[in-house]
Symmetry: C2
Subunit: 345 residues, 2 copies
Amino acid sequence: MPPVRHAVILAGGSGTRLWPASRQARPKQLLPLGPHGETLLAATLERARGVAASITIVTSEALVDVTREAAPGAHVLGEPVGRNTAPAIGLAAATILATDPDAALVVMPSDHRVADGARLQRVFECGLAEVERTGAIGTVGIAPTRADTGFGYLEVGTAVLDEVTPVVRFVEKPGLADAERYVASGRYLWNGGIFFAPASRLLAELDARVPDIGRGVRAIASHAARAADVYPALTSISIDKAVMEHAAGVFTIPAAVGWDDIGSWAALAEVLDGVGSGNATHGEAVVLDGRDNLVWTDGGLVAAIGVSGLVIVRAGDAVLVVPRAEAQRVRDVVDALTGPLARYR
Amino acid sequence: MPPVRHAVILAGGSGTRLWPASRQARPKQLLPLGPHGETLLAATLERARGVAASITIVTSEALVDVTREAAPGAHVLGEPVGRNTAPAIGLAAATILATDPDAALVVMPSDHRVADGARLQRVFECGLAEVERTGAIGTVGIAPTRADTGFGYLEVGTAVLDEVTPVVRFVEKPGLADAERYVASGRYLWNGGIFFAPASRLLAELDARVPDIGRGVRAIASHAARAADVYPALTSISIDKAVMEHAAGVFTIPAAVGWDDIGSWAALAEVLDGVGSGNATHGEAVVLDGRDNLVWTDGGLVAAIGVSGLVIVRAGDAVLVVPRAEAQRVRDVVDALTGPLARYR
């Protein structure tokens, strides 16, 4: 009998970066930003179901109900508090291990946009087969399309699309000069947060590096302890820092699949429309005598005249206006929503 | 028995200049922009009722019902089409004359904001008394507070506040250099569109200058003809051009009453807050790291970060973003609302 394959989908998210479309109660993965107008979570689920018989989603407790509704048949786990990715993935791995000691995992974020989902699904197949054959840990290496300083990079000897390749090293978010060098070299890939591992190996690596996480998630998975009692005390650390950067024999599969993490309104503008000409719009928008604006509305009209380089968003009961080059600063707005305005978070 | 005094209130208006707060179905005079949060029409009515026993309002046919509701007890006349101010005032004068041949009129727009309404009411008293004493036509001369090129001006020999003064001449909207000279001279006043006349004299002046208007409005007032048949063919002309600039012995009463016509969002920003520092806001607004913005919302939040000198309005189902210096261009937006977007007009 072939081993059962498991997908682990990370679906926490604060709803900050695409505010006001994203909110605490409706983070990015629940917005209809997929290539066919579906939610990013729905698109992620479809890819995951194509390769895995079992789907485990880790989200925040507040989002468990809405996530269950959006993902029928998936096993939804709620985190009492966010503790970065290592505890979330550890909890999923421990839960899956309880019933399947030979489980092979593909782990993925829920809020990225992928233009060519079918091709990424073939990369999943390839990575899971490598895990089953070798017991190694691996990752998807996104072929970079620009010198982005917002991502970590993977260095490889030679990047051949869709083929298993050893990772030389993990590189943290670089400066612009380094990022440009990386992209020009053809030997660096973006770390898109998608990876492969045997569940047992993953937990063993956590035990070796951050033992409190391994102990804690096992206790929760076996119902020896309540998540609310254990989880808040776990070390808050990413899976990259806790495992990937240290594990031996990590492989990657270079992938050119039209990937974007849509980490800001500016990033969404680039997906909607090429930069440098015209305006990117979504919904009923009128732009007169302006260029390089992103105008987004999920209902009602947005009219702009004589302005350029702005992000203008009308979503639900809130409006945001910010220069495109400063779109990341929407976080500052959300931070400023206190007192009676906190209801707009 | 003292003569009955009549107020004529002009309440047409296209709803363009303060779009999207003002709409075709809810023009500026129906917005709560009065100094105490009342509508401009309500504030106008209160001033008119202070001096006049009879109130006649001329509006567009489409607005007759909403205007009646807003002005109980007033006589509301509907224009089938707009034909500028001379036919509108002529129609009111002919209607009033039908029952009161000695009527003295004070005529006023409905959509201007006046900070000191009580003082303007005393100017009304003074002007009506002058009409009753002399049979002259007169006007209110707004003491200018800046070299505005958007208004016509009145030249007088000496401007003494609250006192009847002969008008030397009417001046059309000047260039900036002339406007600055006018204001510096102390002998020029803004033409704010408020004036005084015996109803019979007004019609006689119309008969002399634009006879089709006198004939037409008399026919409508006597029910000899339907407005829909007659009105569209009337000469479209302002009362200034048709009567005021040519009449003999026109007087004015210089008035310093905190008057503003709120002709644009930029003008409203100046009423809400001094220019040059900070941001003018109305409703729930968050402005971070920006200045000289007007942020206006009639419901829901508007957040702006890193932008300056913008007008940002959220009103009903529409949002407007325009540089404050170009706020007049909102007309271009309204003109662009065609096809399915026409419902936002």
